[in-house]
């Protein structure tokens, strides 16, 4: 299985672990993640104004690059996934945006949303299959009680992202089961961590993260897992890392027995 891969800015720096463990795990599963050449930052948030074009172009470039290779585009970070998936939907379904973006881009062949955007979790669920993943696990994380933290960006708006049930998602829980651990379901797993608000309104974010942590802990979680660097930062920062928060790729690498091979790379 070959995929175009869009890591995103944070995965090069603060969230190196999200990236490195993903690559190692993908390799172990026989998935080839081919990084999009010269990708540019997606902008972190989807530009909501229906009249914005320039802020969507970096996503279009990555999408088109994948299209030219005839590959699906895999994302790892929730924010990148959210932005690129929604821009792709615009290119597919909003005539005005498609026309204007293509005018800017001057591509050989106009881009019209042909690429399929998949979050790595979706690759695991829909392409590899959690049953198959379970078979590949060498080092099941037995006895670990893990709470999935989805946040907002992967789930909402559900019609566009069509990722999972926005109010009662189960993809990460199924993932946790596949790697041999025990998922802990708690009601705040789809509530916002505060997102970018934590830059200027640290108290607000702290308040929200504390609620999330308390809820997860109350239901018996020993650790949390997430796909978003910003969620991870906010949860750690605001609650003083009450429960450890790790990327889902780290858990995956550990279960597949490839974590130690790349540990050093992460610490570099």
């Amino acid at each position: 299985m070959k995929y175009s891969y869009y890591p995103g800015c944070t995965l090069r720096t603060k969230a190196k672990d999200l990236d490195v463990y993903a690559r190692a795990s993908a390799a172990a599963l026989g998935i080839e993640l081919i990084e999009v050449e010269d990708w540019q930052c997606c902008g972190g948030v989807y530009p909501l104004g229906s009249d914005e074009i320039a802020t969507k172009l970096s996503s279009v470039r990555a999408l088109n690059a994948a299209k030219e290779k005839g590959q699906d585009l895999v994302t790892m970070c929730s924010a990148c996934h959210h932005v690129i998936k929604r821009v792709n939907d615009d290119m597919k379904n909003v005539e005005d945006i498609r026309t204007r973006a293509n005018n800017y881009m001057e591509l050989e062949e106009p881009y019209a949303g042909e690429t399929e955007v998949l979050h790595f979790l979706e690759v695991l669920r829909d392409r590899v299959g959690f049953d198959e993943l379970k078979k590949r696990v060498k080092n099941p994380l037995k006895g670990k009680k893990i709470g999935a933290y989805y946040g907002c960006l992967l789930l909402r708006p559900s019609k566009l992202l069509s990722f999972d049930d926005p109010e009662n998602p189960k993809i990460i829980e199924d993932f946790i089961r596949a790697i041999g651990a025990e998922p802990v379901i708690y009601p705040y797993r789809n509530e916002c961590c505060g997102g970018y608000i934590s830059l200027k309104e640290k108290d607000m974010s702290k308040n929200m993260c504390e609620k999330i942590m308390a809820s997860a802990e109350g239901f018996g979680a020993e650790m949390l897992t997430t796909a978003c660097p910003l969620c991870l930062y906010n949860l750690n920062k605001s609650t003083g890392a009450k429960l450890p928060v790790v990327y889902f790729t780290e858990l995956l690498a550990e279960a597949l027995g490839v974590k130690d091979e790349v540990k050093e790379e992460v610490q570099k």
Binding site: E167, N168, P187, Y188, S215, G218
Partner: protein, 662 residues
Amino acid sequence: MQRIGVFVCHCGSNIAATVDVSKVAETALMEPGVVHAEDYQYMCSEAGQAKIAAAIQEKGLTGIVVCSCSPRMHEATFRKAAERAGLNPYMVEIANIREHCSWIHKDMEEATKKAVILMRAAVAKVNLNTPLQAGESRVTKRALVIGGGIAGIQTALDIADAGYEVDIVEKTPSIGGRMSQLDKTFPTLDCSACILTPKMVEASAHEKINIYTYSEVEKVSGFVGDFTVDIRKKARCVDMDKCTGCGVCQEKCPSKKALSEFNRGLNTRSAIYTPFAQAIPNVPVIDREACIKFKTGKCGICSKVCQAGAIDYEQKDEIITEKYGAIVVATGFDTINLDKYDEYAYSQSKDVITSLELERVMNAAGPTHGHLERLSDGKAPKEIIFIQCVGSRCSDDRGKPYCSKICCMYTAKHAMLIRDKYPDVNVTVFYIDVRTPGKNFDEFYRRAVEQYGVNYIKGQVGKVIPQPDGKLLVQGSDLLDNRQILKEADMVVLATAIEPNPDVRKIATMLTASIDTNNFLTEAHAKLRPVESPTAGIFLSGVCQGPKDIPETVAQAGAAAVKAIGLLAKDKLLTNPCTAQSDVLLCNGCSTCENVCPYGAISYEDKEVNDHGIRETRRVAVVNNALCQGCGACTVACPSGAMDLQGFSNRQIIAEVDAICR
């Protein structure tokens, strides 16, 4: 050449305010064949009809055009008026200058121009009309009622009391419907079973009523007065004649894990079961999915314990074919699936339930024997929160755009009953609006607030958050205090939207009855013919037509019965003379028309024809006028142009096209 009269109606100001009616009349006089034109305030009034009659007689009119409201409204009125004046009723055409013109256009000049064109098209058509004679068809004096809930039972009783045979077809093993699942009813707090079961018994004992339970309508053919219906009697695996209803088989059945439909899946039942104690008929059915005998071939305990020898594992589905003059649809409703509303944690907590589930919890025959308790741990709740409009009034694709109508009242009922029986339990209701139009309804709701101290908060709930200790944290709006509320509850009850029974779509298709975007059956006229389907001979009873409560359902059931009786009381019906006719000279007997006819109305005969002096015998199409419903499919399919439709002939429609494009 025809002598045509044109009559332009003002409809008060409905037409005259936007259409220059006198100009339409004046212009009409310039049309070919028009010898008389006038306008009048209300053409449908007695005076208006008298004008038409007078003109027909005085001017010897051979055809008339009425420029007025939709033909679906008053075509019949004007045809009758014409007939009384000695004109063939099918020499009348309507130009719809109200619904299709004055009501939708604002500019007088533009609307008048359009009205003139519509008048011209009608005149062009009537120029080509020919007098038609309606045929007659017989009426089978027997009615079919689809659905055995309170709506179906009431309709059947009323029809049967008038002396006609009625069959009730009910899908589940017992009649009774949703009402049998209710504990109490608003606004009088009558016990639901106490007022329903006597009716069930009456229906089953009535000599004119025949009940097919555990049965479904499989096929419908025919038309008003003469429907032929196939009913599938599903195999009960219990001989209805032998079974004494002793109940031993249910007691001894070792498979007891099937979810009870009657108790909304809140507890279990045996594989051989009657849905509830007062079921009619009191004869169990074997649920083959759950039965060990059917799954593994081993068991057979029910057969061994049945002293009457009524168990028959070999029983097969049976198809009964019956003829009916009228069919009443009473298929009822269900609550919507809540999968898309998981912010209310319905799938995450056993203590979040629907109102219909609460009915079962409050009922002595329910899963908790009538004790109000949490389904998760059996503890008595201290704090109960009701959430209104769950899935109702939603314009997104998660819910229903309509108001479910009954929820405000049953929530007040639940709140009141709980406060009455358990005064230490606090009850809070989150509402958007409290809607109580109905006799003694608002007084009832106010009693809940004033006498029983139910706490009503205006605002919707955003999320129900299950807590680690099993409590439910409800996060909602209080719009009047402008604050966000976080309130802990032991139970949450969702006033879940209701929707027509999902089977109704299939049934509507079989009956060719129209259905709206929400799967409610459409009435023939929203105000004046609310219990009739546009399809003749099909009547509507209960929630299949729109949300309604029990008194309204019973009233509508009676109304549907009266309409059905009115039909059954006739010995003959006049048939629609707008049927297809084949021109023997053009027909080449190719069978194309026969293949497209949905009624089997076309057959072939060897006929002697005189084709320009050549006499020969040809195989030609013959239309059975009693069977033809006048759809016109054959007229277009016919490759030689031999088929035409009376009243909507090729020449007539082309004349209309020409008039419009002129």
